[in-house]
């Protein structure tokens, strides 16, 4: 029982409780007699009122009162005085029930029900609320009721905003008041009410207001959440085209990529085109994005969002360019121009459209004749051992293809907004440093790290991304490092953030990126180049910066602490992936792989699959559980009992065409499971060290 101390009741207390129980039960019995016979006499209503005073949560009791009110209102016809007296009685009953328990849902709802009839005065309501909000300034029933009454009385948002100011001055720690402030302010900003425009001015004032609270008690969370929200409002960027494959300015030999086309057999003149945006967008199609080529090219492109969910939005979009079978000059390079022609049609999840036209171009070299792509019968097993990889063998044409750093700067108008907002953030950084110079405050440090990242995002957007290596990530990494020590219960949160910033730092420029590029010994076993991005042993817990990695076909992420591969679905060229020795806990965590249709080689050995009874990705992958996938029983190559255990493996692997898979070192990988895999993946040639068939 909430807040009641645990102690054995004395004999007297026990007796008293039984007497009180008997009394309540007899009232209940009487009440039901009236309720089940539709009796609404004065006596019956009094019994009911007594019942609700003793037990305000008794929902059937409130229902009965509503029936009684309807019955008596009908009798009163349109006599205003009788109506008023019937309803006033209800308000009284609610009030005394709330005195017993002011958290009773039924009582608050009954009051709204009565007031919604429009006959009662609302004058007393704010007075009553004051009383309850004094008793408990965080009572969310009272706050909900307050929003109901202010809407009923048409009280302007500005006035209510002032009320939250008063409440916050009374007690900075009133999160309910901060919350209501965010609701009211969002509305005032959206409607551009006088005094609440321009947005930047309002945000600056709000930041100053919340700063007072933060400086008074930096360890109280309430103000910090509001501060984070303001920060988020300030850095909200328009979505931008951030990278592409083929990259801007590159030269691609189409025959190198024929293996990546959707149907391998006949079309060798197909090239994937991938666009990556700063956030998930929708509306990419041939009317919003124009692709023009000098050579004959099918211009009716079908764009696919690369996303594991059903929103229709994605950060990464894919299409295939199909070139005509006979190029005029086989040896010549043909220019392909891509531009976001109708940017208004491209909309982010927040409903923003893009006002920024972007253009990019690359050249393609078409093969002189249709070359058949053939995997050959004697495929070698990919061996991830270190001795098979060597550095410093990069050719200049490879460089062009990994280079996603040639970005477009943004137009003048937006640049100004970014600069203004960057200035706001810079000021906040100064204040935050001032606060931290006085005391060691956990959320203060975290906020400083977030502010520095926000500043980075804003300033790089206004300068153009080329300058990104100017930024120092070192300070942010140090802050997260401190936080891991300062706040051990949330260690893994800071670790995840650390990983993302670390990757940002390491992949920020070409020079740094090249340190992680290696050449696989045998280039014939892969579809074309055998350049491997090797991010092994960096103690990463998750991956990010995917916009820099669209070119990757071979990726080694082994020996990290990776739990989630969210975002990896964007790497549409990926053929070989090494995830061994990580912390992948279930097959459902591999959901992004379902979208990697080129994936041939996968190593997930030595993870934790099968070690955990609770699957934290259970609802983040497509399955009948979340009503996102309707498996037809007759399609199963496996029987019912196996499905209830291996459903997630089925979900991930049934759509893939893997040639090599390593699962050893996971608790799930016993003999029975391997047999299941062989049934599920008939084209597989290697399972662990074993050559099949």
């Amino acid at each position: 029982m909430h807040g009641r101390p645990r102690k054995a009741p004395t004999e007297e207390e026990q007796e008293a409780s039984v007497v009180k129980g008997a009394k309540l039960r007899s009232i209940q019995a009487k009440f039901f007699q009236f309720h089940h016979t539709n009796t609404y006499t004065k006596e019956a209503l009094e019994v009911n009122a007594k019942l609700l005073e003793m037990n305000p949560e008794f929902i059937t009791g409130w229902n009965y009162r509503k029936l009684a009110v309807q019955y008596h209102l009908e009798a009163a016809q349109s006599d205003e005085d009788s109506i008023k007296s019937i309803l006033d009685e209800e308000l009284k009953v609610v009030e005394s029930a709330l005195m017993t328990n002011f958290k009773s849902y039924g009582a608050w709802h009954h009051r709204k029900w009565v007031l919604n009839m429009g006959h009662s005065s609302t004058d007393r309501e704010l007075f009553l609320l004051k009383k309850f909000q004094k008793l408990d300034a965080r009572n969310f029933h009272a706050w909900n009721y307050r929003r109901f009454v202010t809407a009923l009385k048409n009280i302007p948002d500005e006035e209510e905003l002032q009320y939250t100011t008063d409440m916050i001055y009374e007690n900075f720690s009133n999160y309910s008041a901060w919350h209501n402030r965010s609701v009211l302010l969002s509305r005032l900003l959206k409607e551009e009410v006088e005094g609440y425009y321009p947005k930047e001015k309002v945000l600056t004032e709000e930041l100053e207001f919340v700063r007072n609270a933060l400086f008074t008690d930096p360890d109280d969370q309430s103000g910090w959440f509001y501060h984070l929200w303001l920060l988020d409002q300030t850095v909200k960027l328009e979505h931008l085209l951030v990278s592409s494959w083929p990259p801007n300015g590159s030269n691609v030999n189409v025959s190198d990529y024929c293996a990546l086309s959707p149907s391998l057999s006949s079309i060798s003149r197909t090239l994937p085109l991938i666009l990556c945006f700063s956030e998930a967008v929708g509306g990419i199609n041939s009317s919003t994005v124009s692709v023009v080529c000098e050579s004959n090219m099918d211009s009716n492109l079908i764009w696919t969002p690369i996303s594991v969910d059903k929103s229709g939005l994605a950060r990464t979009w894919l299409t295939y360019l199909t070139f005509s079978s006979e190029p005029m000059h086989p040896s010549r390079n043909y220019l392909v121009k891509v531009s976001i022609a109708n940017s208004e049609g491209i909309i982010s999840s927040a409903g923003f459209c893009c006002s920024n036209p972007s253009h990019m171009a690359f050249t393609v070299c078409l093969p002189s004749s249709n070359t058949e792509f053939d995997e050959g019968p004697d495929i070698e097993r990919i061996d991830w051992s270190e001795e098979n990889f060597s550095s410093n063998q990069l050719h200049s044409e490879n460089l062009g293809l990994i280079n996603s750093f040639n970005e477009l700067t943004i137009s003048g108008d937006n640049k100004k907004t970014y600069e203004t907002n960057a200035k706001i953030i810079a000021d906040e950084i100064d204040y935050c440093r001032e606060l931290l110079s006085e005391m060691d405050c956990k959320i203060g440090k975290l906020t400083l790290a977030r502010l520095l990242l926000a500043y980075d995002a804003l300033s790089s957007a206004s300068r153009g991304v080329q300058d990104q290596n100017m930024f120092q990530y070192k300070e942010i990494l140090e802050l997260y490092h401190d936080l891991m020590k300062l706040d051990p219960p949330h260690f893994q949160y800071y670790k995840d953030q650390y990983s993302l910033v670390f990757l940002k730092q390491e992949l920020a420029n070409e020079e740094s990126l090249l340190k992680y590029c290696y050449q696989y010994r045998d280039s014939t076993s892969l579809s074309n180049n055998s350049l491997c991005l090797c991010l092994r042993g960096l103690s990463l817990s998750q991956i990010g910066c995917i916009e820099r990695l669209l070119w990757v076909q071979m990726l080694d992420l082994s020996n990290n602490g990776i739990r989630s591969i969210e975002g990896l679905e964007s790497l549409q060229l990926l053929c070989c992936l090494n995830l061994s020795n990580n912390k992948i806990c279930s097959f459902s965590a591999l959901e992004p792989l379902r979208l990697l249709k080129s994936l041939k080689v996968l190593d997930i050995s030595h993870n934790e699959i099968g070690a955990h009874p609770i699957d934290t990705r259970r609802y983040l992958c497509a399955s009948p559980l979340s009503h996102t996938s309707d498996w037809k029983r007759e399609e199963f190559v496996v029987s019912g009992p196996e499905m209830t255990i291996y459903w997630d493996a089925f979900s991930i692997f049934s759509g893939l065409n893997l040639r090599q898979l390593s699962v050893t070192g996971n608790p799930i990988a016993d003999k029975k499971f391997k047999l299941f895999l062989c049934k599920l993946l008939p084209a597989m040639k290697w399972l662990d060290d074993e050559k099949l068939r």
Binding site: M1, H2, G3, R4, P5, R6, K7, S17, V18, G21, Q28, F32, M54, N55, E57, I59, T60, N63, Y105, H109, W113, R138, F140, W143, N144, R147, S173, Y175, S176, N180, S182, V183, Q221, S222, F225, W229, S307, D309, K310, L313, P489, H490, F491, Q492, Y493, S564, A589, A611, H612, I614, T616, R618, L620, L625, S626, T628, G640, M643, T644, W647
Partner: protein, 321 residues
């Protein structure tokens, strides 16, 4: 493999808790019992699910429970909290959940029950709890979970239901009862679970909400439901299950939380309370045990974070047969 060392955290008094649950059922005369009579069907769900997680569901007479429960059904198809009480979505879900535990959903007139539930959807996609029109995202959740378990989600407008829930999203990434209402961990569970079973978790800002939720852990290791509030064992369910559904549960200290829950046990008479040394009740006993199950405490059946039923029960419904 960095597994937790459970021996350091104390021990779960399984036998005592089973005994506690079985005795409260018999103790009916105190005021504390009478005042809970109107939600007895919820109580049945809490008690029986706890027993199942503890591996002791066979200690109850299933036929007796089902026959009592069917008497709680109203002619409209909905269930009341007890015999003779008015029907409401909250008790209807409990009835379906209990039948699912027993693998007896077929005992229901599924169309009748699902029509009752579907009939409570409003034009804006929201759900009323009963015919008297109280609207709350709790009811959206209960309706969606019920219909999903009955495999009748097609009877409602799921898209509108999802959009209504999304309209209740707040500055902190959490959700409230109605648009504009403050985030609360219990309410967040309701909304996240409803989005989870409708494949709509992309509407959740997982990092923002995950951080807010992981900051619910206070120094004692326990979780609170809103900022600057006291910890309470029931949030071991509301917060944890939400963190699990959005895959951010590694952001809290599981070991400290297990210790907090175990510290709330009444080791003498069984049962778990909201905070150490408070009086125990079946509600917190359920949330404590379910929380431990989510924390992978050894010897417990795994519980599903959305349907709030053991994983084997949920898998049987969605993957079996």
């Amino acid at each position: 493999m960095n597994m937790l060392d459970y021996s350091r955290m104390g021990e779960l008094a399984v036998e005592k808790h089973v005994k506690f649950i079985l005795t409260i059922e018999k103790e009916k005369d105190s005021f504390e019992s009478v005042v809970m009579e109107h939600i007895r069907l919820n109580g049945a769900y809490w008690a029986l699910t706890t027993l199942d997680i503890l591996g002791k569901l066979n200690t109850v007479d299933q036929d007796e429970v089902v026959s009592w429960m069917m008497q709680c059904q109203h002619e409209s198809g909905g269930f009341g909290g007890n015999i003779g009480h008015d029907p409401h979505l909250l008790y209807t879900l409990s009835a379906i959940q209990v039948l699912a535990l027993f693998d007896k959903i077929d005992a229901l007139d599924i169309d009748k029950v699902s029509n009752y539930i579907a009939g409570l959807q409003n034009n804006d996609g929201s759900f009323s709890g009963d015919m008297w029109g109280e609207i709350d995202t709790r009811f959206s959740c209960v309706a969606i979970l019920s219909l999903a378990l009955l495999k009748r989600l097609d009877k409602i407008n799921v898209e509108k239901a999802v959009n209504y829930i999304v309209s209740c999203k707040n500055l902190d990434g959490g959700f409230g009862c109605t648009p504009g209402a403050e985030s609360h961990a219990g309410q967040i569970f309701c909304c996240v679970a409803a989005l989870a079973v409708t494949g709509s978790l992309h509407h959740v800002d997982k990092d923002l909400l995950g951080w807010w939720l992981c900051e619910r852990q206070v120094k004692s290791g326990g979780l609170n439901g809103r900022p600057e509030k006291l910890p309470d064992v029931c949030y071991s369910w509301w917060v944890l299950s939400s963190l699990i559904m959005i895959d951010r549960v590694h952001w809290i200290d599981k070991e400290k939380l297990i210790k907090f829950i175990l510290d709330c046990q009444d080791k003498e008479n069984g049962g778990i309370s909201d905070q150490p040394e408070d009086a125990v009740d079946v509600f917190h006993t359920y949330f404590g045990v379910a929380g431990l199950s989510l924390l992978e405490y050894p010897g417990l059946k795994a519980i599903d974070p959305a349907y709030a039923l053991p994983v084997d029960v949920v898998n049987r419904i969605f993957f079996g047969r």
